[in-house]
Amino acid sequence: METVIEVRNLSYMYPGGIVALKNVSLDVYLGEKLVILGSNGAGKSTLIKHFNGLLKPQRGYVKVFGVDTRKASVAELSRKVGIVFQNPYHQFFSEKVWDEVAFALKNFGYSEETIKYRVTKVLRLFDLYDYADKPPFELSSGEMRRLAIASILAYDPDIIVLDEPTVGQDRIQKEKLKEYIRLLSLQNKTIILVTHDIEFVTEGFDRIVVMSNGMIVGEGSPREILYDEELLRKANLILPQIPEIALKMGDSAVFKKKPLTEDELLSLIVDILGVRK
C-alpha cells in the first residue's frame, strides 16, 4: 500500500508550554478511510495541522507524498491535503455561497472556466446550487457544514481531513455526512476523520487510531478498537452502544463476530436465540 502521509517521532509543544504531541508516528495509506479518535485535548487537531504545514514539526518529521512539510509552503501542501475545519464561521467571509467555494480555486490560480465548472459541480453534489447567490451566513448549520466541505472539495485535493464534522449535527445530518464520505471514498480519495464521536465511526471506516495525551495509544480495525474497553477507557472514551450491549450479553459468539451495527447485532441475537436456521 502506498503511504501518502508519513509521520515520524513528531513532537510539538505550544508556546504556553503545553505539550500537544509526544513522539507520534503514523502512516496514512492511499485511499483509506482513517479515523483519528480521542477525547478533547488529546492532540488530534494539532496532529492534522501538521499535515498541510500549518504547524511545522519541532521534533521528528512529516512527509506528504514524500515531501517534507518543513520544505514546502502551506499553499503547496494544501493542494494535496484539504482540511475542513470544525467551525464554518472561521472561514466564511464572502457575500455569496458561490464566491466562498471559488475562493480556494482563485487562490490556486485556476482559470475562470475551470472555476465555473468546478464550483457548479461541487455545489450540485452538495445540494447547494440553489443557494449559490445567498450569503453563507444565512444557511442552516447543516448547510454551512456542507458548504465548508464543498469549498475544500472544489479544488480536488487527494487527501481530505475532516476535523470534528459531527459536532452540533443531528442524526440525519450525520447520516448524510457518512454518505458524502462514502462518495469521496469511491473517488479514491484518502479520508482522515478526526473526532471524539465514537458512535459515528462504528461503520464505514477502515482503520482507527486512538490518541490520548498527545500520544497514539492504539491502532487497529474498528472491530478491534471499538471492543477494546481498556484502551478506550485509557483514552477517556466509552464503548459505543452496540459493542456495550453485545458485551453485556456475555455470549462467546459476541467475541467471534464483534457486531458494530444494528443489523449485525440483530443477526447475532437471532443466531444466539436459534430463531434462524
Binding site: G16, V74, I83, F85, Y89, H90, Q91, F93, N107, Y155
Partner: protein, 261 residues
C-alpha cells in the same frame, strides 16, 4: 500574524500561578505601574531606560513566570521592529543615511517597548476578576468595571479565533506574504471579516448569558474572595518607588516627581 496572535493570547489568558507578582494586590500593582511609567515620559536618557529595563527583567525572572512573559513579548517585538522602520523613515526623510534619526527612532521605540513590557507584566500576572474587584473598590460602578474587564477578557478569545481563521484561510491557499502592499492589505479581508462576524455574534451570547444570570439586578455586589492589602503589597510598591527614585536621581541629577511638580 500567527505569532502576534499567539503572543496576545498568552498575555491575556487566565492562568493562576503561584508567583509573587500574581499575588500582589492589583490596586498596588496598578499604582506601581504608574510610578514606573511616569519617569519614562520625563526623560529620553537611554541610560535610565536601560535601568528600567533591567528592573523589569529582574522582576520577570524573580517574581513572575518568565517563560510566559517572554513569549508574550516575542510577537510584540516583531511589531516594534516594523514600527522602528516606519519611524526611521519619517525621521530620516529625505536623508536616509542618518545616524541621528536612527538614534532618536531607537529611543522612541525603546520607550514604547518599556511601556509594552510594563503592561505585559501587569496583565500576565493579574487575574481579570481581581481587576474588576479592584476597580469596584475604587468606586467605579460595577457594570462599567465589568465592561472594561470584559474587553480585556475577550482578547485571548478573539486572538484564538483569528489563529483559527488564519489557519483555515491558509489551508484554502491564501498566501499573505505574497504580493504588493495593497494586495496584502486586501488579503487581510478573509481574516478580518470572519473575526468581526464571530465577535459581533458573541456580543449577543454574552449579553444573554449575563442577563439570564441577573447581572446588574442589585447595585451592591459581594465577591467570593475579598481583596485585602497585605504587607508584601506595600513592600513591593515601596521598593519599586525607591528604585525609580534612586536611579532617576543618580542618572539625571535631579529628583523626579518633585521637579516635575
Amino acid at each position: 500574524m500567527r505569532g502576534i496572535m499567539e503572543s496576545l493570547y498568552e498575555m491575556f489568558i487566565f492562568r493562576r500561578e503561584n508567583k509573587f507578582l500574581n499575588n500582589v494586590d492589583p490596586r498596588m500593582k496598578f499604582l506601581t505601574l504608574i510610578i514606573l511609567m511616569t519617569p519614562i515620559f520625563l526623560t529620553m536618557n537611554p541610560l535610565f531606560y536601560m535601568a528600567m529595563f533591567l528592573f523589569l527583567l529582574f522582576q520577570t525572572f524573580t517574581l513572575a513566570n518568565s517563560r510566559r512573559i517572554f513569549f508574550s513579548l516575542k510577537g510584540i517585538v516583531k511589531l516594534l521592529i516594523m514600527f522602528y522602520i516606519v519611524i526611521y523613515i519619517f525621521n530620516a526623510y529625505p536623508n536616509f543615511l542618518n545616524l541621528e534619526a536612527a538614534y532618536f527612532s531607537f529611543i522612541s521605540i525603546f520607550r514604547f517597548f518599556l511601556l509594552v513590557y510594563m503592561f505585559t507584566l501587569f496583565f500576565t500576572t493579574t487575574y481579570i476578576d481581581d481587576l474588576a474587584q479592584a476597580l469596584y473598590k475604587l468606586k467605579v460602578p460595577y457594570h462599567v468595571a465589568y465592561a472594561l474587564v470584559l474587553s480585556v477578557r475577550f482578547v485571548p478569545t478573539v486572538a484564538r479565533d483569528i489563529i483559527q481563521i488564519y489557519d483555515a484561510q491558509r489551508s484554502r491557499g491564501l498566501e499573505l506574504d505574497k504580493g504588493g502592499f495593497f494586495e496584502r492589505l486586501r488579503k487581510m479581508l478573509p481574516i478580518l471579516i470572519p473575526a468581526f462576524i464571530i465577535s459581533i455574534l458573541r456580543v449577543d451570547f454574552v449579553a444573554e448569558a449575563l442577563e439570564s444570570r441577573a447581572f446588574g439586578s442589585s447595585p451592591k455586589r459581594t465577591f467570593m474572595t475579598e481583596l485585602k492589602l497585605r504587607k508584601h503589597d506595600i513592600v513591593y510598591i515601596l521598593l519599586s518607588f525607591a528604585y525609580v527614585l534612586t536611579t532617576y536621581t543618580l542618572i539625571e541629577g535631579e529628583v523626579p516627581f518633585l521637579t516635575w511638580m
